[in-house]
Subunit: 204 residues, 2 copies
Amino acid sequence: MGILRAVRFKDQAFQLREDAILNAATSTLAAKGFDLMTMDDVALAVGISKPSLYKHFKSKDDLVGEAMIRLIDGALVYLEQIPAELSPVERLRDLLAWALRVRLGGGLPLMPSTSAQVRTMLTSNLRYIRRVLKLNGVLEKIVQDAKARGELRPELPDTVILFSYYARTCDPTVDYLRMYAKMGDEEIVEHLLGVFFRGVCPST
Amino acid sequence: MGILRAVRFKDQAFQLREDAILNAATSTLAAKGFDLMTMDDVALAVGISKPSLYKHFKSKDDLVGEAMIRLIDGALVYLEQIPAELSPVERLRDLLAWALRVRLGGGLPLMPSTSAQVRTMLTSNLRYIRRVLKLNGVLEKIVQDAKARGELRPELPDTVILFSYYARTCDPTVDYLRMYAKMGDEEIVEHLLGVFFRGVCPST
DNA sequence: GTCTATAGCTGGATAGAC
DNA sequence: GTCTATCCAGCTATAGAC
């Protein structure tokens, strides 16, 4: 039992460090992007040496994959906790607002628009794909409910709505507005939601 | 005069090769992105050797910068040629449709959402910045005209409209729809325009 | 101006001591 | 499990022959 507890402690410390690594990777990724993020960057941010990283993650791709998986899991958790009173489209709006706030707070975009290499790397990560498909399933259901209630334009295919929705989580408009328009975070979120749901033209 | 003509011929050949290099760089960039595109790729595609590339462009950054400049110039030329009868918002729609078709045809996104390094590289390219500012000036004017006519929602700041507009030219929705929804190019363009101008919700 | 060959560097990944 | 030191691949960029 003493041994068991020691093992537990060790595992706990190991787990804590792993979280610290993932946090560092996430913020570095958000700041510099995949290619400019080096394993040295992450090791330095965590305060350990590069080879120690490789005790936790067998490659850079693996590390980034885990960070993305954790993010998707965060979205799934957030979705479950949204008040049931909200209508489908209100739920979509709420989740997107959450994702944009995460990003504005230095987190990752939910979907990596980035480079072809990142996409290739992620699409060969089966665990990541499983999570994405799960999230996609949940969102597809919400979109269909919203359509059935007339909350979404019926002539738009579900795929168009869903993919446009995902793309908003990595929309560079966020960065442009912050950098060049000096706009506050909440204002940015509101405008992005407004443009996505209502468009830029007046609803005559 | 014989000499002059010889020089002219040489210049012409030089110019032709330069165009070929820019074409190769453009399509390689569109296909693989900045970091995965190597100078060897471009040299191979053009059919010359790598050092010859450096006779035309002094660095990879320079080459990519010129490709982007040529793209912006293309947009400016296209804008000038749009029929004057079109209303401001119809002009915005027409130009965006053009940009999306260029991209679907294997060209570059007008604005590089890509990585931080690309943005850093381009923002330190004065000639590129000048072109972008020029294009931005023209588009800002069109947006203001459209607003004055009530063709755009008046409560949206110009910056929100403009930056959202730019972001649509590098919207990954395009790629998602092509890859996963097997949608035709024209249909993709129509849907993207529809979502941008009218939103996903019905205009009650 | 074109090539072959190579310098020089960066960054992912690992060997081996402790 | 952690570190120091290092390997090695791949890439940009250039030297130098023709």
